[in-house]
């Protein structure tokens, strides 16, 4: 199937967003956001895949052999690092929210106090 990986991408985004919307716990909400974000890995690697292509490492293949696209793989690597950094920052905000308001339920964090 030519479009199956792209359908998977759409599915991961929607499932993750549903989790973010219905979540009753900040940590769970952050994990849902990671799910949404991980759809980009599937998208990037799916877009760059070439049927029958080798990995883009030139040990035993010629420089003109058919390989999958190395540019999107480098982009996926960037993606992973940024995700880890953003997750860490969000988790520290969750820690602070729990300290200040005594709850992790986003529905109870309705009013922002100065």
């Amino acid at each position: 199937m030519q479009v199956f990986p792209f359908l998977v991408v759409a599915w991961i985004v929607i499932v993750g967003l549903y989790g973010v919307i219905t979540s009753r716990d900040l940590i769970h909400q952050i994990v849902c956001l990671i799910v949404v974000q991980s759809s980009t890995y599937v998208l990037l690697l799916g877009v760059g895949y070439v049927t029958g292509g080798a990995a883009p490492y030139l040990f035993d293949i010629s420089a003109h052999a058919k390989t999958v696209d190395p540019v999107v793989q480098a982009l996926a690597l960037t993606d992973v690092v940024v995700e880890a950094a953003v997750t860490a920052l969000l988790l520290s905000f969750a820690v602070q929210a729990h300290k200040r308001f005594g709850t992790l339920d986003p529905h109870e964090l309705v009013s922002l106090k100065g």
């Binding site: 199937m1 030519q2 479009v3 199956f4 990986p5 792209f6 359908l7 991408v9 759409a10 985004v13 929607i14 967003l17 549903y18 919307i21 219905t22 799916g46 877009v47 760059g48 895949y49 070439v50 049927t51 990995a55 883009p56 490492y57 030139l58 040990f59 420089a63 003109h64 052999a65 390989t67 999958v68 696209d69 190395p70 540019v71 999107v72 793989q73 480098a74 690597l77 960037t78 992973v80 690092v81 940024v82 880890a84 950094a85 953003v86 860490a88 920052l89 988790l91 520290s92 905000f93 820690v95 602070q96 729990h98 300290k99 200040r100 308001f101 005594g102 709850t103 529905h107």
Partner: protein, 259 residues
């Protein structure tokens, strides 16, 4: 807005999003038929231009090097931001603002000796693998980002094995701050050095070596990858250490350094 209304709104938005997605995907060239010109162009030139066999690392640290500088500073900023966000309350005594006393008084199972032995045994190999990955970006699917994360894992295996005091000693904040600054600043400095030699920013001015893919090949790619490895390892030890500090604060465990 009630949760029910919110769900309906989400269903509406999601339906629109899915429709746009499918429309957009219908215009893609199809799985396995990627027509992009950059991949083949880089693959056919990467050895001649950089002597690196790992094309992904060559892209990250050479062709897209400027982009990776920004990426590294995202990580740097996140680690700094976490320290700032979590530091504000560090001076507070526990109990003053701990709204979950049931969590603090919960019984904690002791670390089993099998966990201790296995994680202590894994510390050495993990550190070696991390170091090897960080220094072999030019040859194979490795690089500073992967290696740095695995190096940081070695530190947390020490923590997992219950050696909290040792862990604390392995994680002096001053040394980590310096390591992070050297990693992030070193990357930028490699680029500026090229400017000083009146070459473009991040130009590969080091000797490329003679054997493609050898450890001594590929010039600045290997150097930058190593610097990134240091930066990533330091940033992750700092980030996870900050979160662990919060847990330990709750539990009432105080190391020498925490006030």
């Amino acid at each position: 807005m009630t949760p029910r209304q919110r769900l309906w709104l989400f269903a509406l938005g999601a339906a629109g999003l899915v429709a746009c997605y499918l429309w957009a995907f219908a215009g893609l060239p199809g799985f396995g038929n990627y027509p992009g010109p950059y991949g083949p162009a880089i693959m056919s030139r990467v050895i001649a231009q950089t002597n690196a066999t790992g094309a992904v690392s060559a892209i990250n640290f050479e062709y897209r090097g400027f982009d990776t500088v920004g990426e590294e500073f995202i990580l740097f900023t996140a680690a700094a931001g976490m320290s700032v966000v979590l530091r504000r309350l560090r001076g507070e005594r526990e109990g003053q603002s701990s709204p979950a006393p049931e969590a603090a008084s919960r019984e904690r199972p002791a670390t089993s000796s099998s966990v201790r032995v296995v994680s202590l045994l894994l510390v050495g190999p993990t550190a070696v693998i991390g170091w090897w990955l960080a220094t072999h970006a030019q040859t194979n699917p490795s690089g500073g980002f992967q290696g740095g994360v695995i190096l940081a894992t070695a530190f947390f295996l020490v923590y997992l094995s219950g050696e909290f005091i040792v862990f604390r000693r392995l994680r002096p904040d001053a040394v980590l701050d310096v390591a992070e600054a050297v990693g992030a600043g070193g990357f930028a400095a490699v680029g500026v050095t090229a400017l000083a030699l009146s070459l473009p920013y991040l130009y590969n001015y080091l000797p490329l070596g003679t054997i493609p893919g050898a450890v001594s090949s590929s010039g600045t790619i290997a150097l930058i990858s190593f610097l990134v490895g240091i930066e990533v390892a330091a940033a992750f030890v700092l980030i996870i250490g900050e979160l662990l500090d919060q847990t330990l604060l709750r539990r009432g465990v105080h190391g020498e350094g925490s006030s």
